[in-house]
């Protein structure tokens, strides 16, 4: 009952004109950034953080969350119209979505994606509202050792599922953790790795680092590539025919289940649910040969799973403080910038904010549907803006964002430095998600480890004598072992 009361209060706040305007603006900016080639949701969310600087924390988070799922939908438009996924989760949508566009059914593809995303997002938001509070209450029983083990599990999941090499993913995690050590030691207050440079005493800002790794690196990589051809799709028929509805309906519900279920597991990433939803539809279909040739289920299932995943990923993030993906990690950075720490304590300390944000997910899903169906033609036109202008505009916005956080040109240099590092790592296929998660979770991981060891007077047995902590540590080890066993044959084949 308590959750229902809180949720209703959240709706009252989320439906206030100011928060509605922030959610609307977030959806518009998010879709816009998702549509722009070469910018994914992580980079887009990071770049747009400066827009929220002067908002109150609730407004800022509502707007950034709307940017996040707006960008997730925006990526679909590029997948369908130019066969370039705006973000990794839309890769599978290219297969049938682009074929539909080539057959003059681009409007229907985008229409079913919007409807599927709406249903998936809405159902996932309802489930989020139902399970968030009990999960947060359970997490409140955690002590520092359990939190340490939980964060370790999150990092292991992300490392185990991130790339083609487990060692490379672990290396990136450790690098992120090490970078987070720069600055004042959170427990004793001693400076570390600052080398007498005043700008380093506060550590490296999450926003400039993420903007560099995702925004600058993506722009540099896109700048190297040749310009792609854009299909002038017919976008008049947005609503599916009766037969297309019949084919899509089951796919949408199965996509919702897959997206939500997998979204609860940190580190899975949005690609897995979309691929699973697609493969399941192909397996269930009586005419699997249509897949890859413009089957509407091939768009409906992964797009629904994608949005259900995006909303479900908020569960571990809001209740446990574990970001499941780089974009959620960016969102976590925005929480931290606003003086908020996601996790169970946030439900106790700021229930108004948490429930308003949860209510805003419902509102945001409705706004996205209302916005995207009639404006799909407008979004498609944005694809025709030449990359030269986009790249320069994005760079100016990145500089603005990096500088305005602390009014420091040093942060701009940090962004450029990490842009070059991100560019190099992307070229070598070194995964960036574990690096960002390590960077964000580093201080909390260290604090919980050291507090645990202080509690036990330096005895490591504290981690093995508490059943929940032990269970989480065993799960972490199991994730790494399974990932190693899964990846080993592939690496042996390549060697």
């Amino acid at each position: 009952m308590d959750s229902v009361t809180h949720l209703l209060s959240g709706f009252a706040a989320a439906l206030s004109p100011a928060y509605l305007a922030y959610a609307f603006a977030g959806c518009v900016f998010g879709t816009l950034i998702g549509v722009l080639p070469g910018l994914g949701p992580s980079a887009g969310t990071a770049i747009l953080i400066p827009l929220t600087f002067k908002l109150d924390p609730t407004g800022a988070i509502i707007m950034l969350a709307a940017i996040y799922y707006g960008a997730m939908y925006g990526g679909t438009i590029t997948s369908v119209l130019i066969n370039v996924p705006g973000e990794a989760a839309s890769v599978i949508t290219c297969l049938d979505g682009h074929q539909m566009a080539k057959q003059g059914r681009g409007g229907t593809a985008l229409g079913i994606a919007a409807i599927g995303s709406f249903i998936g997002g809405l159902v996932a938001s309802i489930a989020l509202a139902l399970i968030a509070a009990p999960l947060a209450r359970l997490a409140l029983k955690f002590g520092p050792p359990e939190f340490f083990a939980l964060m370790l599990l999150g990092l292991c999941l992300v490392s185990g599922l991130a790339g083609r090499s487990l060692a490379a993913a672990l290396l990136m995690t450790v690098l992120g953790l090490l970078i987070s050590m720069i600055g004042i030691d959170p427990v004793r207050g001693a400076p570390r790795f600052a080398f007498g440079i005043a700008d380093l005493y506060d550590g490296l800002g999450i926003v400039p680092v993420v903007m560099g790794l995702f925004g600058i690196a993506e722009i540099l990589i896109t700048a190297e590539q040749p310009v792609r051809e854009i299909i002038r799709a017919r976008l008049s028929n947005l609503l599916p025919s009766r037969d297309e509805w019949r084919r899509s309906w089951g796919a949408i519900w199965r996509g919702t289940g897959i997206g939500f279920g997998l979204g609860l597991i940190p580190g899975i990433g949005a690609i897995v649910p979309t691929f699973m939803a697609y493969i399941l539809e192909k397996r269930l279909s009586k005419t699997p040969e249509r897949f890859g040739q413009g089957a509407i289920e091939g768009v409906a299932a992964p797009e629904t799973a994608n949005n259900a995943y995006a909303n479900a990923a908020m569960v571990p993030f809001l209740t446990l403080g574990i970001p499941s993906s780089p974009t959620i990690a960016v969102l976590m950075g925005a929480f931290i910038v606003n003086g908020l720490t996601p996790g169970p304590f946030l439900f106790q300390e700021r229930p108004d904010l948490v429930w308003t944000v949860i209510a805003s997910f419902f509102v945001g899903n409705v706004i996205l549907l209302v916005l995207n169906l009639p404006l799909v033609g407008l979004w498609a036109k944005i694809l025709h803006v030449p990359f030269r202008y986009l790249a320069v505009g994005v760079l100016v916005f990145c500089v603005l964002g990096a500088y305005s956080l602390q009014q420091s040109a040093f942060d701009v240099w940090v962004m450029i430095g990490f842009g070059v590092i991100g560019y190099g790592f992307r070229k070598l296929d070194l995964p960036l998600a574990p690096l960002v998660l390590g960077l964000i979770l580093g201080p909390a991981l260290e604090r919980s480890l050291r507090t645990s060891l202080e509690m036990s007077a330096g005895e490591y047995s504290i981690f093995f004598t508490r059943p929940l902590c032990l269970g989480l540590l065993i799960a972490s080890a199991a994730v790494l072992v399974v990932a190693a066993l899964k990846l080993a044959p592939k690496q042996l084949r390549q060697a």
């Binding site: 400066p50 827009l51 600087f53 002067k54 790339g163 083609r164 090499s165 060692a167 490379a168 290396l171 450790v174 690098l175 953790l177 090490l178 050590m181 030691d185 427990v187 004793r188 001693a190 570390r192 790795f193 722009i219 540099l220 700048a223 190297e224 590539q225 040749p226 030269r388 202008y389 790249a391 320069v392 760079l395 100016v396 916005f397 500089v399 603005l400 500088y403 305005s404 009014q407 040109a409 701009v412 240099w413 450029i416 842009g419 070059v420 560019y423 190099g424 070229k427 070598l428 296929d429 070194l430 480890l449 050291r450 060891l453 202080e454 007077a457 330096g458 690496q491 390549q494 060697a495």
Partner: protein, 160 residues
């Protein structure tokens, strides 16, 4: 038989060697901080172990790289063509110029000059489009952020 081209393997090895050096240096520096104190683990404890683990992982990957592919995927476009490389270099150079001039010259002047120069470098040849874009992304953005969103941005000579 190695699946990665030799040039890719060389770059991979150099990057991994650099990372190994960074982790080794971090371990050495962290060893200089207190690893333990009266209350338990000291400020050097966590970075020391991270540095050590990172160095070991870098060495493992380096060994894998020498044997074949360390990271897995064969990257086809490791080196861009000349035009692509020039575009990326121009953007990076523009960013560096932006960072250098931002505080002494102010946001508006820097953005005006850098965006115009970048558009020219990227091949835009329409003076009106260049001028309009440069004005919007310098004076326009400054107005939105400085006056509407109240974000303090650097002001240069002559109040520009």
């Amino acid at each position: 038989m190695n699946s990665q081209p030799a040039s890719h393997r060389l770059v991979e090895s150099v990057v991994l060697a650099c990372l190994c050096a960074v982790f080794a240096a971090a371990t050495w520096i962290a060893n200089g901080y207190a690893l333990k104190d009266a209350l338990g683990p000291g400020p050097g404890f966590f970075p020391f172990w991270l540095g050590l683990i990172g160095a070991v992982l870098s060495l493992v990957l380096l060994a894998q790289s020498w044997r074949g592919s360390a990271i897995g995927k064969v990257v086809e476009g490791l080196w861009p063509d000349r035009a692509g490389a020039l575009r990326a270099a121009a953007l990076l150079g523009g960013l560096a110029l932006f960072a250098l001039l931002l505080e002494p010259a102010g946001f508006r002047l820097t953005a005006l000059v850098v965006t115009a120069a970048l558009l020219v470098a990227l091949g835009v040849r329409r003076p009106v489009a260049i001028a309009a874009f440069a004005l919007v992304s310098s004076f326009g953005l400054f107005h939105v952020f400085y006056h509407w969103l109240k974000v303090p941005l650097p002001v240069g000579p002559f109040g520009l």
